[in-house]
């Protein structure tokens, strides 16, 4: 039961690779940290693992099978900027239930208040929006969650709150989490295991 990326190479230009021969694997129920410098290609790797990017070399598989491009993707990616991850013309309740109907339990555990549901995205703060983005991504078919700097722009207290909720849900549903950050202390606190990006990617950015 694991999500595997094997020998992944990627570059926006042919002779300028960002990722070279990167391999990573994430078991279900595990919380894996990924630490790397800004601009080293962490987010690109996340996008490839979650099926956002197609023009890469290598293989992404779940339990040995390739991930289907149609239908609900068991690998869900949550971004750094929640305000970009919501359609400004939709009400929050539509955004929340886009994937599947989010249960009341999850709403409660994320501290999403009923009154927020009838608001527009520009009427909520970043931390509130990020809760919605996470609740939406943690649908019942989600097996792996990739958290790409999801709490970087939040204050320490909100960070701790959000991560506590995520870790509870993840443990209960046996979801594998990839925590991407360049904050070592956060990763040490959260993760069972840590991968340093410079160890798995041979491309050096100077």
């Amino acid at each position: 039961m694991c999500l595997k990326g094997e020998n992944i190479s990627f570059g926006y230009k042919r002779n300028n690779l960002i990722l070279n021969d990167v391999s990573i694997s994430l078991d279900r129920g595990k919380v894996l940290g990924l630490i790397g410098d800004s601009g080293s290609g962490k987010s690109t790797l996340c996008k490839i693992l979650a099926g956002y990017e197609n023009n890469y070399q290598g293989k992404v598989s779940i339990d040995g099978k390739e991930v289907l491009t149609k239908g609900y993707n068991p690998v869900q990616l949550v971004f750094q900027h929640p305000e970009k991850a919501v359609n400004p013309k939709w009400k929050m309740k539509d955004i929340l239930n886009e994937g599947s109907n989010v249960s009341q339990d999850i709403l409660d555990s994320f501290g999403i208040k009923k009154s927020w549901l009838n608001r527009w995205p520009n009427e909520l703060s970043g931390g509130e929006l990020q809760r919605f983005a996470l609740a939406r991504a943690l649908g019942s078919e989600t097996r792996y969650l990739i958290a790409d700097e999801i709490t970087t722009m939040l204050d320490a207290i909100t960070q701790a709150q959000i991560w506590n909720m995520v870790l509870d849900i993840v443990k209960e549903r046996n979801i594998g989490v990839l925590v991407v950050s360049h904050e070592k202390n956060l990763i040490k606190k959260l993760c069972h295991d840590v991968v340093y990006f410079k160890d798995i990617n041979s491309v050096r950015h100077y």
Binding site: G51, N73, Q76, F79, A85, K89, W90, E98, G99, E123
Partner: protein
């Protein structure tokens, strides 16, 4: 112009909030335009008949816009002409909007379709606008039908560009990718995510096409390529009056020209104020 409008707003409707003011302006200008169209429909042939007993009269209470060299009341002719212009403008901008939607959606279908659409836009833009209208309307045998189709087939370009760029920009948004990852189909994303962003653009673009279409119709007719001389179009009224200007009959050109300007500005005002209402930043306030 917009600052002037704001100043007028401040003094005219003090006590109303911005939303009510904009709605009031939109309502008032729409009513004005509607009144012109409706009144032009109810004008019978008799009031347009010649009366040589009262020719070339200066503006008076009985004939507010004066009369022409055949004794026809200029107010009636102007109303009739404006009504015709607005109807032609409506047809032309509606057809343009439909073309825009079709081509905009086509451009999002794939790379080849996209280059085809941009090629079509470039092609249409490479020919001078007025020349293209004249070519098409002559090619279709002239008359009202020629002008309508000519004006309609040449105004979709700028709006299509805007819609195409908007779709391109929307498709790179994170929430579109997320939607795909949540298992939504292309059609679902197009109708639920992309279309709500396009509707205001298209609606606004269509309304702002009106003044363009009306002015082009008038200028083509003025140049003699459009409607036939017996139809009381604004362009024809203006081009006929040119011959009488040097004789001192200034009202023949002044009032119809002024009315045309007012109608065009009214459409512009509606478009501008609708834009204020539909701007995503202001819409939810």
């Amino acid at each position: 112009m917009s600052t002037a409008v704001v100043n007028v707003n401040r003094s005219l409707f003090r006590g109303l909030n911005l939303r009510q003011k904009t709605l009031l302006i939109i309502g008032f200008t729409s009513l004005l335009l509607l009144a012109i169209v409706v009144s032009s429909l109810f004008i019978d042939g008799e009031s347009l008949s010649t009366d040589f007993g009262s020719k070339n009269l200066a503006p008076s209470l009985e004939h507010p816009f004066g009369t022409d060299w055949m004794g026809r009341d200029m107010l009636t002719r102007t109303l009739e002409g404006l009504g015709l212009s607005i109807v032609i403008g409506a047809f032309a901008s509606l057809i343009s909007a439909v073309l825009t939607i079709i081509l905009g959606l086509l451009s999002s279908a794939g790379k080849t379709a996209d280059s085809l659409v941009s090629w079509l836009v470039d092609l249409a833009l490479s020919i001078p606008h007025l020349l293209l209208i004249i070519l098409i309307s002559i090619g279709l045998g002239g008359g009202a039908q020629g002008v309508i189709i000519g004006v309609a087939l040449t105004h979709w370009t700028s709006l299509t560009r805007v819609v195409r760029a908007e779709i391109k920009q929307l498709k790179t948004q994170e929430y579109i990718h997320i939607s795909r990852n949540l298992g939504k189909s292309k059609w679902w994303i197009a109708t639920k995510h992309i279309l709500p962003h396009l509707i205001p653009q298209i609606l606004l673009g269509t309304i702002l096409l009106f003044p363009h279409a009306i002015l082009h119709e008038a200028s083509v007719t003025f140049l003699g390529f459009g409607l036939s001389p017996h139809e009381p179009a604004i362009g024809i009224i203006l081009s006929e009056s040119m011959r009488y200007l040097s004789a001192g009959y200034w009202w023949l050109a002044f009032f119809p020209g002024l009315s045309l300007l007012i109608v065009v500005l009214a459409f512009d005002l509606i478009g501008e104020n609708l834009g204020k209402l539909m701007d995503p930043k202001n819409a939810h306030e």
